[in-house]
Structure formats: structure tokens, C-alpha cells
Subunit: 326 residues, 4 copies
């Protein structure tokens, strides 16, 4: 390759690819729409979190947006388990999408005619109160996904009269909006993370989160306690602690941990080293800005300069310098 | 009522009713089949865990069998959440059922002709490896339950060629067995609990488990740590610690705890009081024999007589008795 | 015996005896003077703490006043060791005496003529700065006690020109006061305890202290930590933690502990039982009002009613009562 | 300077000076006799620990030998307090001296004629049982030091018939040995430390001790606990924990800590930094070989290479390297 070609290539930056749970109109697409860097790039719809992460690992995509937790249902097990077992990944961003549902029908449909409703079981469960009050005589037919429930109305694959779907569906398909905000919990929100291959973490912002997967070294009373102490003794708050079965037998778990702060914060770096010494099976998933941009609070005694001062003090002891008196 | 009638009633014990996730053939039915007291009694199939527990609370059933955890997927969220929020319930027994799947078709069907497979999404995921290898060209149609997937083949409501179902289905319906043990994890097992209204716990057996729901008093660094210390400082091992969102906002969790031992063990009683003082929102779900009958091990210093001795010692101090010298 | 005689006996109560480190004029006598019940009773001077405690154990005295700690020198080892090893004793009160010293001479003596000074080594050390400035050319002759140093001036057994003594000496002997307040630390204070045979502790006042001797169960990393946690996890502050060699070999210690609160406080009773379970070698020395009458502060979650409520809750669980919902 | 002169200077090393509690014959001299480097050097007797340390600080001596703890009496308060308050010092070695006492008289004296015995009060207390049995009618005259008690017999300054002294006295003075091994505790031993100005610590030997003075940051329940956790969570055992009053008021203490291991052990360096972050008032007194040469044991998870591995792992995370899979 000649240098002219190289220079030409450099001046036309490569288009980036983002995998997400498709098709267009999903909550995951709404999360991806929040990523400024993803605008105008290639968005690659996939069928499940496994495909999304495989795209990243195998180089078909630069990053994948995946749902990781729901304020009503809790952790998304498949996503947590995939992050725990697929190597070479890093979380680089976090995004929140309100869980709002609409009831849609074929063009011209009317709410009062609805009796059979297609819906993913989880979405159905989240709208059950509204449905019971508004359409007490309805029946439910399960759908494989929130968007598939609505698509089936149009492509003839579904017998249903209406479907529960995310609002984004209306931007992509000619559907009749029968009702909005039909979810039972108005505060429901889903947390998404953007996952890339292993990279240098984005720089600290003061409002960061660090995600980890920790397997306890053995099953004695207090192992979990000791793991949590690694954070508590450095003034680090955990915003998430979830257990997931390792899968080989009942009673063996790994823990999914979200800790307030960034890998480059002294207290977090110290906690991570303590954690690593405690258990060789610690997976660092990433340090990245929190979706809510809430600044991390911590006791002053765990500030960076306290760590730096202690390190300097130790260095002085080793070199035999007299201690300054205070 | 005359005494003759009363006596007649007493000599013909009332038939007991057990609710379970139906219809016949489910894993839950297989769990209920393990309960000696349930044999020959009325088994009442219901559609979901909510109905099962409502049956118990409202007196339609004496007990309900519900799935609580799966060795592959983890805690059954709906069951954990129901136990956390429905008052007046007690777990009185624990049962394990191996997760085995069969592939069934209509009478006369052949494996090589299968292309469309009905399956509940979770069951489908647990057989995906076998399906990919054996029937690489198959397509999946989601079903609302494991048994419904097979029933649809017979009642004409499903277009599928075959269904993934628990082995128990074959005892109840005329289906063609196309393949057995198609699950990807041969050790997969589901844990069930039998739930009654609040009763005196069954007596300790030495191989017991105590289930609790704990809400932390507030969200300061170390609150979870302090909760776990209530157990660790009494030599009590936890076999389960799962977090479930309280549901009102992201980041607020309650914890589902299974602790080794029985409410009437001194160390457990002491831990429960410590827990209660620490958090007013502790729900005791029950002390009951472990399904695996594994005897609970604990350091000798946490034995019942050590607690009794300390209590006697304290009583002596208060009454001003001279201490015996040893 | 007639009732008139009994009544006569009751109206002439037995005279009580109090042992203290004599002779008259010591700090210990000043401490005993603070005890209202001791006024007008028999005060029995003894030569050391061993004699004082033996008087109590063997019934010659009802109680003994002994020095237990000095704000400058720390714990009084002999007193701490005696309380740790002599059985059948209880601390029933605490008293503080300011450590003030005077320099005294024979009648007619003058400060400028003083060159040889008799003093107990500890008292001498506490006045060394004043002596170095005021009498730079003086020499020191050690005395066996603070009072003996002064007595020797009068009975001819000492060659010294002056003696360091407690101010109380002037009430008992014809000595020339050469200088007052010659101690180097104006805040120095000695803590005394009144010790009786084992009795029911005085009732709680809200400003109490509980004294203990604890031997750790074995010498593993963390045994002391575990001991301290018995207090910390019940919100109990320690005002004293001192180690004393057990005496059989280097590196084996027992701990002298003063904890804020009374044996009849629920949290203290619970801590004592925890301590007893942890180590069979716990000696309860007593719960008694603090000398400074400072009300004990503790987090609300460790209040008595929280303990009572938790105990009631546990009782309800065991008896199978439905939990009240809050 | 010519090379001949330099070489001449090098071949005649400067004579080193060692201060010790004199005069010749003390236990401290016996401790100093155990130091190979001190043989043939100048030994400088002083009157107390303050003078000894002042010699070092002000350059009159290269090192001072001071008693720090006695297996019967516990910590030597004056030495502990001096090390806590005099800056610029380092402990560089530890030595044990058995506490044996002899009873000596003037030449020609006989045991049966002894009635008045000169002795330092501490030595007297340690021989009291033997004296009570052997010389029940004796009287005690206090002496300022163990050696002074014997010297007074010879120089006429004492009226006593005999003196209690260390055995070393016989190598320096013409005294009559009346009885040997008169101490009540045959295992009594005194621990001495050799103190120099601040220097680079001697290299780790695997059987080292680290001495510290720690002031707790404030007086809340659990501050001491938190201090001890700095050691326990790194698998470090403490061989000494003593409290000393800070002296300004009752109830304020600093802690004298001896921890197993050396400053250059990774776990100790990490603990010291943790301690420093926890409290700005930590004084490092030195890391030095233990007198008993007992190799320090610790759990494998606190080995140096575990710390190094964790640091490398952290460095890899920060630089964005993919984690190696194990």
C-alpha cells in the first residue's frame, strides 16, 4: 500500500457498526439512539444478546447495545451470564430507557374490538393491570419479542387483534395506536450497556460506575462478606449486587457487582487489587460514566490524595527518611 | 351439631387440596408427587404462581407447590417477588426435580420430519445446543408453557411439528416420543417449595433451611455487609443470596436469603433477632427440611448448649451469684 | 427473740468497714471520702491493693477502694492483675481524684534550703519539670509511698529535706507546706474503684460503666477483632481497652475492658452473652455508675425496646402467629 | 585526600557508642551483650530511658538498648511513651533477657543474718514469694534501681543487710552471693529493643517484627476495630497490642502495636498504607528481626507474589489489555 492510499483511507474514517436487539423499534434501539457517536453509523439488528456480543468479539461490530437490568424484573439473566462467560469484552457506556408500552392494531382497528392480544410474556405481565381493567375479557397469545408481536399483525403471521409494543414501533411501521402508557408501573426503566472489545477505559468523569463479575474463592461462611468488605473498607458503595448461578450445580453462584467509581480512582484501584488477591476469578467489565450522571460521593478519607500521601509516606519509611512531624 | 356428627367428621379426615402449576405433566406436578402427604389428596392445577399462592391465602388450597430456583437460570423472579409481598405464607418443604426435556410429536410423527418446534422460550434456550446439532434447519414458535407447547399439537391450536416438554407429559397424553434427554445441561435441576398459610414450623431435623426476605434499612455503604454479619458472626452459612428489585426505582433491592439451620436452633434464633433489630423489614418465610437432607455443619462454638450456658451465666451475673471458677 | 429486740437491732445498723491504701492522707483516702455511705464508718488503712482485696474476700471489710488507672501513667498494673485473678469481687462504684502534689518539709523548713527530696518514683516523675526549674540542684531519694516520703521527715527515718506528697497529708500531720500544685500536668487525675464481694449490681442509672476481664480463646489473627465486634455490633463504646500479660510467657495477654452501659441494658446483656460464647474466660467485674455521671449515648437502633420487640417477633414466629404487616 | 589516607581511615573504623541503663551489671547490659556489633565498642551507662534516647537523638550514641516489655509486668510505660513522643528514632533489633535475681550481701555476709533487704519495688514484688518463705521476718527498703540496691551495700549509703540484684552484678562487684534464682516466676523474661536514629530498616529475614504507635482518628465505637482490621484483612498477626494514655485526659489512648512481618513484605506495606489513610497519626518505629527468630506464618493468599500478580493485573486493566483466561 502506498502512503497516498493510506492517507486517503485515514481521511475517510471507517464507518462504525453497532449491534442491537432488533428489529427497529425496540427499546434497545431507543437506547442506541442515545449514543452520540452512533449517529449516522451502521446499526445492525440481531436476534439476541448472544449474537450481539458475538458480533463484537468476532469483529463484525464495534459495539453492541444490550439490556442489563430492569427496575421491575431485575437483572437480565442472559446478558449477565454472557458478560460473565464471553471473554474480551468491556462495558463503555450506560443508558436508561423508560419502559413505556403502547397497544397497537392493524390500520383502522379500534380498542373496543380487541379480544386477542399478542405480547411477549414479560411485557404482558407489565401491562396486566391495565389490560384487566380496560379489556377484562381479552386473551393473551405469547410472542417471541416485543416488536415481533406487532409485526405479526402486519405480515399475517398472527391471529391477534392487537399487540403490546414499545412506542418506537410507530416510527417504523404503519400501525394503529390504540392506547399509550399502558404499563402498570410509570417509573419502570430498563438499563442498557454499550459493550465493545477490551479497550482502555474512558477517562474518569467523577460520575462513574465500575462493573465486575466475581466468583467467590470457596464456599465458607463469610466469603461473600469478605468480598463486600473489599469495597466497604475503601468507602465504595455498590449500586448492584446480583447473584447468578454458575450453572454446574445448585448453590454455586457468581456475583454481578456495580460499584460507584472508576478504575482510575485510587480507592477503586486498591479495592480491585484486594478483590483480585481474594479471588483469582474476578472479571473486570469496565469503568464508564453513569447514565444518571450522579456524582459519586465518598468519605474524604478515601480521596485520591489520601492514597497518594500514604504511598509517599511508605516510600519515605523504606528509604529511611525521618518522618516529618505534624 | 350433635356429638355423633362431630365424631363422624373427625374420623373422616378432610381431604386436603394442593395447588400447582398445571396442567398435569409439568415439573411442578413432579415436585408435588414427591410429597407423601399429598398422595390421594386433591391436586388443583393453576396457571401461575400468583394463582397458586392466592389459593393458599384465600383458603381454597392447603398448600401450593411453586418453583423457586433453577440451577441454570437462577431464581424464579415471580415466585421470589410473590413470597416477598404476599403476607401470611410459610414455606414448609423443599423438593428438587431434575430438568429433563423430551421432544414429542403427534402420534406417528418422526424426528426427521420435524421443522417447526413449539417451546417455552426458557425450555427452548436450554435445549438449543441439541437442537442446533440434531435439527439445524428447525424454526422455533414460542409457547406459553412447557405443557401448552405439547397440548397444542393435539388440540390443533399449534402449527408446530413437535414440542419440547417435560417427561411427565407422556403419562397424561398420547404423544409420540421423538427424543429424550435433549437438555444441554445434564445436571440441571429445579428447586421447588411447598407453601402453606402461616403455621408453627415443622420441628428441626438437623438438616434444615431457613428462608427470609430482607430489606436493608437504608442505602449506606456497608448495610448489606452488616446484614450478612448477622449470620457470619453466628457461624451460619448462606446457601442463597439473591437480590430482587423492590420495583419502585432502579438501585433499590430486597434480598432473598436461604440460611442453613432452623428457627429453633439457638444460633439461628439469635441471628434472626439481630436481623430484626437491624432492619424492621425482615420477612420470615419458614424453616423446613432441606431437600438434599444434608446435615448442617457449624463450628462447635455455635452449638445450642453454648448459647444456653451463656444465658445461664448472664442470669447468674444479674442475680449476683459468685461465678464458678474453672 | 421478741419483736422489740429485733427492732432495736434494726435501728442500730452494723458499722461497715472500708479498706484503703493508707496511711491517712493518700489519694485513696481522698477517693474514699467521696463515698457518702462510707462516712462515719470504719476506714481501714492497708499497705497495698492485695491486702485491700484480701480484706474484702475474707470478710474483714465490706469494700475496698483501689486505684485502677492514672491519666498520665495508665492502668495500675497490680490492681488490674488482682481483679483479674482474685475471684468473688465486684466493682460497685467509680471515683476520680485530681493528682495534685505538694512539697512539704519539717516544721520551719524553707524551700530555698531544700536539696534532698524524698518521693515515690512515680510522683517524682510527675513533678520533674517543676523540680528541675525550681530546684535544679536537688537530689532524689526514693520512697516506698507518697505518704511514707513525708512521714519519714517527721519520724527521723529519712535524711531528706523535703518530700513530695498528696495535699491530704496536711490534714493529718504537722508539716511545713513549701509549695503547692507542683505536678507537671494540671489535668492529671486518678481513677479509683470501690470493690465489694459479689453482689447484685447497683441498678442502672443511664450513666453506667461495665468492667470486664477477657482472655482471648486462642491466638489466631483476628481473635481480638472478634472480641471487639461483640461490642461494636451492639453500638457499645469502650472507654478502656488495656492488655495485661497473663504472665506465663511473653505474648499472651488478657484484656481489661470498660464498656459504656449497664449489665441490665439489653444491648450490654446481649454483648456479654456473645462474649461468653466467644471466650469461656470472661470475668464480669461489675456494672456501676460512672464517676463523671456522663449519660451513655448509643444509636437508637440499640435501644432496649428494639431488643424487646425483636424477641417478641421471634416468639411469634416460633408459635406460628401471622406477622403483623406494617 | 590521597588514597593512602582514605584507606588508612577506612581501616580504622570509627568506634561506635551504645547507651544503656547502667551501671554495669543491669539486665540492660546483659541485653547489650547479645549484640555482636556492640562488642569492643564504647558502652555508655545512663540513668534512664530518657537519657538513653536523648543520647541517640543528639548524636552522643549510635544506638540505645532499652527495656520495652516484661512478661510479668507488661509494657514498660516510660519506654513506650518515649518512643511515642520522641521523633527520629528507629528500632533495629530485639533481645530477650531472662529475669533472674540473686540475693547479695557484703563480703562475708550470711543468709540467716539478713533482716533488711534493699530492692527496687518491681524486683521486690517479683521475689516476694521466695522472700516470704525463706526470710519471713525481713523488711524492705526501696532502692532506685536493681544495681543501686547492691551498690549501696558497698559504698555505705545503705543500711540494708542484703540486696536483690541481677546476676550480672557479680561480674562487676565484690559481693557475697547469698541465694540464686530467687524470682517467683522461673519463665520471666524482659524484652529489650535496640534503638538508633532513623535509618533504612535492616533487610527482611522472614522472621521479622514491625513496631508501630497508632493514635485513633477519633473516639467513635469501632475506630479500634477498624485499626485492627487493617492487619487482619491482610493476614497479619499482632504479637502486642497495648494502650497507653495520651496523657491529656482520661480515656484518650494511643496504641503500641507489634505486628508479625517486615515493612518490605507486600502485605505489611499494604497494611501500613491502609493504617496511614485511616489515621494520620501513625508512627513507624521499625522493622527488625525477632529475638526468637520464629519464622512468620501467614495464609498463602497474602504472599508477596499474590500482591505482585494483582498489581500486574490492575496495570493490564488500565492499559486495556485483554485479560488472559484461566
Amino acid at each position: 500500500m502506498t502512503s497516498e492510499v493510506a492517507s486517503a483511507e485515514a481521511s475517510v474514517p471507517r464507518r462504525r457498526t453497532y449491534s442491537y436487539l432488533g428489529p427497529a423499534g425496540t427499546f434497545t434501539e431507543a437506547a442506541l439512539a442515545q449514543v452520540p457517536e452512533a449517529r449516522g453509523q451502521e446499526w445492525r439488528p440481531v436476534r439476541n444478546v448472544g449474537e450481539a456480543l458475538a458480533d463484537v468479539v468476532e469483529g463484525r461490530s464495534d459495539a453492541a447495545m444490550i439490556a442489563i437490568e430492569n427496575s421491575v424484573d431485575g437483572g437480565v439473566s442472559t446478558a449477565q451470564d454472557a458478560l460473565a462467560t464471553v471473554p474480551g469484552l468491556r462495558i463503555v457506556g450506560e443508558y436508561l430507557v423508560p419502559v413505556e408500552f403502547v397497544l397497537v392494531g392493524r390500520p383502522g382497528a379500534r380498542l373496543e374490538d380487541v379480544s386477542l392480544i399478542a405480547a411477549h410474556p414479560v411485557a404482558y405481565a407489565q401491562c396486566l393491570q391495565w389490560l384487566s381493567e380496560t379489556l377484562p375479557a381479552h386473551a393473551h397469545v405469547p410472542a417471541a419479542s416485543n416488536v415481533a408481536s406487532a409485526m405479526g399483525l402486519l405480515d399475517g403471521s398472527s391471529d391477534a387483534d392487537a399487540a403490546i409494543a414499545p412506542p418506537g414501533i410507530l416510527e417504523h411501521h404503519e400501525l394503529e395506536l390504540l392506547a399509550s402508557n399502558i404499563g402498570d408501573n410509570p417509573n419502570a426503566v430498563t438499563r442498557f450497556v454499550l459493550v465493545s472489545r477490551t479497550v482502555v477505559p474512558p477517562p474518569p468523569t467523577g460520575a462513574d460506575k465500575t462493573s465486575l463479575i466475581v466468583e467467590l474463592p470457596d464456599d465458607h461462611p463469610g466469603a461473600l462478606l469478605e468480598m463486600l468488605e473489599q469495597f466497604a473498607t475503601r468507602g465504595i458503595n455498590l449500586s448492584l449486587l446480583a447473584s447468578r448461578p454458575i450453572g454446574d450445580e445448585l448453590g454455586r453462584y457468581r456475583f454481578v457487582v456495580d460499584a460507584d467509581g472508576h478504575l482510575e480512582d485510587e480507592r477503586m484501584a486498591d479495592a480491585l487489587m484486594g478483590l483480585r488477591r481474594f479471588s483469582p476469578r474476578v472479571t473486570f467489565l469496565g469503568s464508564y460514566p453513569r447514565a444518571d450522571r450522579a456524582v459519586v460521593r465518598y468519605p474524604e478519607r478515601y480521596a485520591d490524595d489520601v492514597f497518594v500521601e500514604a504511598r509517599d509516606w511508605l516510600r519515605g519509611l523504606i528509604s529511611g527518611e525521618p518522618e516529618a512531624q505534624d
